[in-house]
């Protein structure tokens, strides 16, 4: 699109630069395709390394027994921490989304959106510092503190996801409920939330996948382990977890530790990839259901 002055009297002959413009366009196309392939290649390289190096470490013993041979307690601990974080974050996130879509006016909606965006953009290490000052300083590290930190990370993800799907709930469902004289809370609990359930679960699973891999909060909040086997005092002591296990092993620098770290990475990454793939499939299904 040249911006040269248009001369209607100019003869309509192909100027010599058409070939050049075509070539530039072709190069740009190849560049864009190459960039996409490059990103996929990097993903492939990371996953291939984790698979090929981690597969050797996997064994029944590795998955279920305690340190030093296995990561059983870390798996159990991560599950506990993430479940507790979900229990905190999911209801809160859904309520925030309900507030924004069902009750708030335009300005409150904008303010709430900004809040969630800022919360989402906070570095996780800052959240770790915050919860440390709130729950750990002058006390002890605990799995619960770690759950609170992860819940703060999950909250905006759940709230935004829920908000989007609540906006997709067909307007005529709401109108039908109003026309029948149904009060607001009944409409929300029996019509709106059930039809948005698929989307809410999708958002929650995605948030879980994100939280499970977060390392900065657990590193500050739940990283000094007593070395006990599997009975944790969830509120009073640090609970072993996979991200911190990988981090410490990777900093130690022993080949044997590296192997175990790859194994732990494989466990973590397969959980996360399956969770996000599952969430994606669920999302597609609930979209289809809602549009039909």
């Amino acid at each position: 699109m040249s911006t040269a002055a248009f001369d209607p009297t100019a003869p309509l002959t192909p100027s010599g630069n058409l070939r050049r413009r075509r070539a530039v366009s072709r190069v740009a196309e190849y560049g864009a395709t190459g960039a996409a392939l490059f990103a996929v290649a990097v993903l492939g390289a990371v996953i291939y390394t984790v698979l090929s190096r981690g597969a050797g470490a996997l064994s029944f013993d590795f998955l279920f027994s305690g340190t030093p041979t296995g990561i059983g307690p870390a798996i159990l601990g991560t599950v506990m921490i993430v479940v507790a974080a979900t229990v905190i974050a999911m209801p809160l996130g859904v309520l925030v989304a309900l507030f924004v879509t069902e009750f708030a006016g335009e300005r409150v909606t904008a303010a709430s959106r900004l809040t969630l965006d800022l919360l989402n953009g906070l570095p996780s290490i800052i959240i770790g510092l915050f919860v440390f000052a709130l729950l750990v300083e002058f006390k002890t590290q605990s799995g619960f503190a770690c759950s609170v930190g992860l819940a703060i990370i999950m909250l905006p993800l759940v709230a935004r996801g829920t908000q989007e799907v609540l906006l997709l709930v067909p307007g005529n469902l709401r109108e039908a409920a109003d026309a029948l004289g149904v009060s607001r809370w009944r409409a929300v609990l029996t019509v709106i939330l059930p039809s948005a359930m698929g989307g809410i679960l999708t958002a929650t699973v995605l948030a879980v996948a994100r939280a499970a891999g977060e390392t900065a909060p657990p590193l500050l909040l739940s990283s000094v382990f007593s070395g006990k086997e599997a009975i944790f005092n969830f509120f009073g002591e640090a609970v072993p977890n996979i991200p911190v296990t990988i981090f410490t092993l990777s900093e130690e620098g022993s080949p044997d530790g590296f192997t175990r770290a790859w194994g732990a990475s494989l466990v973590l990454i397969s959980f996360i990839l399956f969770a996000s793939l599952g969430a994606r499939a669920m999302h597609a299904r609930s979209l289809r259901k809602m549009s039909s």
């Binding site: 699109m1 413009r21 530039v24 366009s25 560049g31 864009a32 395709t33 960039a35 996409a36 990103a39 996929v40 990097v42 984790v50 209801p91 809160l92 309520l95 925030v96 309900l98 507030f99 069902e102 009750f103 409150v108 809040t115 965006d117 800022l118 919360l119 953009g121 906070l122 570095p123 996780s124 290490i125 800052i126 510092l129 915050f130 440390f132 000052a133 909250l155 469902l173 149904v182 009060s183 607001r184 029996t190 059930p194 039809s195 891999g213 977060e214 390392t215 900065a216 590193l219 500050l220 991200p243 990988i246 981090f247 990475s265 973590l268 990454i269 996360i272 996000s276 994606r280 259901k289």
Partner: protein, 330 residues
């Protein structure tokens, strides 16, 4: 599912044709309660942000009163002597993130263009999710991969080549003996920034009205000229906002950077030297910090990080709002 809900409702309807007085009152209370709970949750989420700001500043108070604002540019960091300064960390943070953005943004925008304009529908459905999956890899695993796979490659191949070819520019200095360097950290950050910027810019490009692009093509523009003349100008501020969001992500990344940056103390012109960032210094020293001043100084780093992060996020919001792409679609 929606139909089923509807019919269940119809069956119940006769029962509630004449709702009792008690029920009405109960409904009113329950409505109020639902509103109250929801409003409380929304308030709580806002309160969390305020509380985070307060707690981090409160934790930093001893260091703030001891060092004042000179903490921000002083470069000495010696926990054993109780002397702390964030200068070199601030430098490392900005350099590593900006380099990551300089490499990542063009790649990410190209990916966005490919996914929105070039790729056939089937390929789009595969590559799009794969690129987003890159964002799902936990940073600790990316950092671990960075130490063992990327760093040796960078140190053995990439850095010597760059040094030999562009060595006359001071930022491409001689490689270190280990692969840990600001450059390696930037590459890891690039991997984190790309999926964020790519998915936002893809959505932006998809919202550019079809007719305008077709109009440009009809005037004889090549595909690149359509992108250059129509797509990019009409989405420019959105793309800038997306890049700022990516920058915010890179600034705040702690774990992966700690693993690959090598915890250097000095400010070097060369990207191939070790360095450190605000977030990574917190992650590497906080668990072992004992003295009150040391902890407070780490909190002070948090304050600086919080301020930079908020600025980049708010700037992204502000620029993004000036350009609302839904306006274009209408």
């Amino acid at each position: 599912m929606s139909a089923a809900t509807g019919s269940r409702w119809l069956r119940r309807a006769p029962g509630r044709a004449r709702p009792g007085e008690r029920r009405k009152r109960f409904d009113r209370i329950a409505d109020g309660a639902l509103f109250g709970i929801c409003a409380l949750a929304a308030l709580l989420s806002a309160a969390v942000i305020v509380a985070i700001g307060y707690q981090v500043i409160h934790g930093a108070a001893p260091a703030i009163s001891k060092f004042g604002l000179s903490f921000i540019y002083e470069t000495t960091w010696q926990p054993n002597f109780g002397v702390f300064g964030a200068g070199s960390l601030l430098f490392g943070t900005l350099v590593s993130s900006l380099v990551a953005l300089a490499i990542g943004a063009p790649i990410a925008i190209s990916i966005g263009l490919y996914l929105s304009l070039l790729a056939p529908a089937g390929v789009r459905g595969v590559i799009g999710p794969l690129v987003e999956m890159l964002a799902a890899i936990p940073s600790v695993i990316l950092g671990f991969w960075g130490i063992l796979i990327l760093a040796p490659f960078v140190q053995g191949t990439l850095e010597p080549w760059l040094h030999d070819t562009f060595g006359f520019i001071p930022i491409f200095g001689a490689p270190e003996t280990t692969g840990a360097s600001i450059f390696t950290a930037s590459l890891i950050l690039t991997i984190m920034v790309v999926p964020i910027v790519a998915s936002i810019s893809r959505d932006l490009f998809l919202a550019v009205p079809r007719e305008v692009q077709d109009g440009a093509s009809a005037l004889g523009a090549t595909r690149w000229e359509v992108v250059r003349g129509v797509v990019l100008p009409s989405t420019a501020s959105g793309v800038v906002a997306a890049s700022l969001l990516g920058l915010g992500r890179a600034l705040g990344e702690a774990i992966a950077v700690t693993q690959v940056i090598g915890a250097g103390a000095a400010i070097n012109a060369s990207l191939f030297k070790t360095g450190d960032t605000l977030a990574s210094r917190i992650a590497s020293q906080f668990p072992g910090a004992i003295t009150q001043l040391h902890i407070a100084s780490l909190y002070y780093l948090g304050v600086i990080l919080l301020v930079i992060g908020l600025i980049s996020n708010l700037a992204a919001q502000w620029i993004g709002r000036r350009f609302d792409y839904r306006r274009l679609a209408r």
